[in-house]
């Protein structure tokens, strides 16, 4: 408290802060703020939809959506759709992670490979990957290979580009120190360049996984018979608005889980950066 006294700007705000200290600590908890505001929005939504009597065709109430969600999970096969979509996202992402990292290290460590790859990356990276869907369908059909390809294509560029940056930003002093301790070229790559690039590689996987999710769901909306995207599209076609919202909730929940998991991994990876 003495610290607060030293740094406090005005006496008035300080007394007020002291009086409402308990309330303030609750309000300053990011989790309370985050979840509290979500709950508040849902409550306002529920009440206003109920009071105004708007048709559930346009705006179903949250309680109706929850009922639809539970029903879809229990009897409507939504779990299967979720499983299929997750498989497509993560299998494609895993391919992108392995290929992107290896290719990135190769590009970063070889002047010639970098010169060649530069043009291809410049051409392909800014291209919206959804525009490749028609071509990929012609080549691969609409089955598993198509889905894995589109998912991997979405993730590979952010991973590759970040790997190149991360490896190239490695402190040359560390490479020199490793050479001094007897490292071979291969050991330098494995034990110095890649570890030093891991924070950057992980930043790339964060972006890449996001793009993979977008692309897989979009592709499912175009061609899928299974998967969350297909389910979303079909529900919309038959004006089952509750089901549309239910799928959106599943997608939003997926987003939250992915983001929070990445945050946790980020902290774990960065433990040596904490002073």
């Amino acid at each position: 408290m003495s610290d607060q006294h030293l740094t406090g700007t005005t006496d008035v705000s300080e007394t007020r802060a002291a009086q409402t200290a308990g309330w303030k600590t609750i309000c300053d908890d990011p989790r309370v703020l985050g979840w509290g505001s979500v709950a508040l929005v849902l409550l306002v939504w529920e009440i206003s939809a109920y009071v105004s009597g708007v048709s559930p065709l346009y705006l179903p109430r949250p309680s109706q959506i929850v009922v639809a969600l539970v029903t879809m999970f229990l009897t409507g096969g939504l779990a299967t759709d979720l499983g299929v979509t997750l498989y497509r996202i993560f299998a494609g992402f895993a391919i992108a992670l392995v290929v992107g990292t290896l290719l990135g290290v190769w590009i970063a460590t070889s002047f010639r490979v970098r010169a060649i790859a530069d043009m291809f990356i410049a051409a392909l990276y800014p291209l919206p990957k959804v525009t490749l869907i028609p071509l990929l369908i012609i080549w691969l059909g609409t089955g598993g290979p198509f889905m894995l390809t589109i998912s991997a294509l979405g993730a590979i560029f952010p991973i590759l580009i970040n790997t190149v940056l991360g490896v190239r930003q490695c402190d040359p002093g560390l490479v020199l120190a490793a050479r001094d301790l007897g490292a071979t070229k291969q050991q330098i790559v494995r034990k110095v360049l890649i570890p030093s690039a891991i924070p950057a590689i992980f930043a790339g996987t964060r972006l890449g996984l996001g793009v993979s999710i977008i692309l897989v769901v979009a592709a499912e909306m175009v061609v899928g018979k299974l998967g969350l995207g297909a389910r979303l599209y079909l529900s919309g076609q038959i004006l089952e608005t509750e089901q549309v919202f239910a799928v959106l909730i599943v997608l939003a929940a997926l987003g939250i889980i992915v983001t929070k998991t990445q945050d946790a991994i980020d902290i774990w990876l960065g433990r040596w950066r904490i002073t």
């Binding site: 020199l176 120190a177 490793a178 001094d180 007897g182 110095v192 570890p195 040596w272 904490i274």
Partner: protein
């Protein structure tokens, strides 16, 4: 311990860097010197004189444009190959994602020493630099002086024939430097290794070295070789020795003019 010791002979070393605009930079010119087995030799000179370049040539990271290096085992026979060398760096160059013990064991790991043995050797080396209890810390959690002690342990654990010290205390504050100089003097003495110390500090050179090579401003040449006969172990008290003052004056006298030349060079006057 002296079986480790190796003598290095540099004959007429020269190094010229080709410049971008056709004009080349002469970094070293006609450097002849020897590093005696089991002794500490300091290289001192104005900034940019090529001291670190000379060290890189000895290490084998840079090839001289002319002249050559030879290595000889103490027993007299010429060494067939480059002796084992380890460097202590001014910027520490510790691997930030590895703990202290992993950093110290890094070279042993590269050499394929089994995990149990390398950890044990690393722990001993860490204890020798008074860092017991910090084995599981990451470099960022340590002070500058502690980081450099990790750097020293990492180099010494390799049991090098030649220890290269590239301005090892240049990044540290004055007090930390004093303590580490004494500690390093003791460790080098115990290991019996041949050591080459590149430094800006006349005091550091006298405290640690058996011989001091004074270099000229660029292009670097050896202008004098000065033997230091002060009794060992030396510590901060040694600086009050009248002979210390005499050596200091002598080296400063040699360096003063070279530093002036280097300053003119650096300001673009040459």
């Amino acid at each position: 311990m002296t079986s480790h010791a190796v003598a290095i002979e540099c004959r007429d070393l020269g190094l010229t860097f080709p410049g971008a605009s056709g004009e080349s930079t002469v970094a070293l010119s006609g450097v002849s010197c020897s590093f005696l087995p089991g002794k500490v030799t300091a290289i001192i000179g104005p900034s940019g004189c090529g001291k670190s370049t000379l060290l890189q040539i000895v290490r084998g990271f840079l090839d001289p444009s002319r002249g050559h290096l030879s290595f000889a085992k103490l027993e007299g026979g010429a060494a067939a190959q480059r002796p084992a060398m380890s460097t202590v760096w001014q910027a520490f160059n510790l691997f930030p994602w590895l703990t202290v013990v992993e950093n110290v064991a890094f070279g042993l790991e590269l050499a394929g020493v089994p995990k149990g043995e390398r950890e044990e050797r690393a722990r001993k080396a860490i204890a020798a630099v008074d860092l017991r209890g910090f084995e599981r810390k990451y470099p960022r959690q340590l002070s500058g002086g502690m980081r450099q002690r990790v750097g020293i342990a990492r180099a010494l654990v390799m049991k090098p024939d030649v220890l290269l010290l590239d301005e090892p205390f240049g990044a540290l504050d004055a007090q930390t430097r004093l303590v580490l100089q004494e500690q390093l003097a003791r460790l080098v003495e115990q290991s019996g290794t041949t050591a080459i110390l590149v430094t800006h500090s006349i005091e550091e050179a006298i405290l640690l070295a058996d011989a001091i090579l004074v270099m000229s401003a660029r292009p670097g040449r050896i202008v004098a070789t000065i033997d230091v006969d002060l009794p060992k172990p030396r510590n901060h008290g040694t600086t009050h020795d009248p002979q210390f003052a005499k050596l200091f004056e002598q080296i400063y006298g040699l360096l003063r003019d070279e530093v002036m030349v280097a300053m003119v060079n650096e300001s673009g006057g040459a």
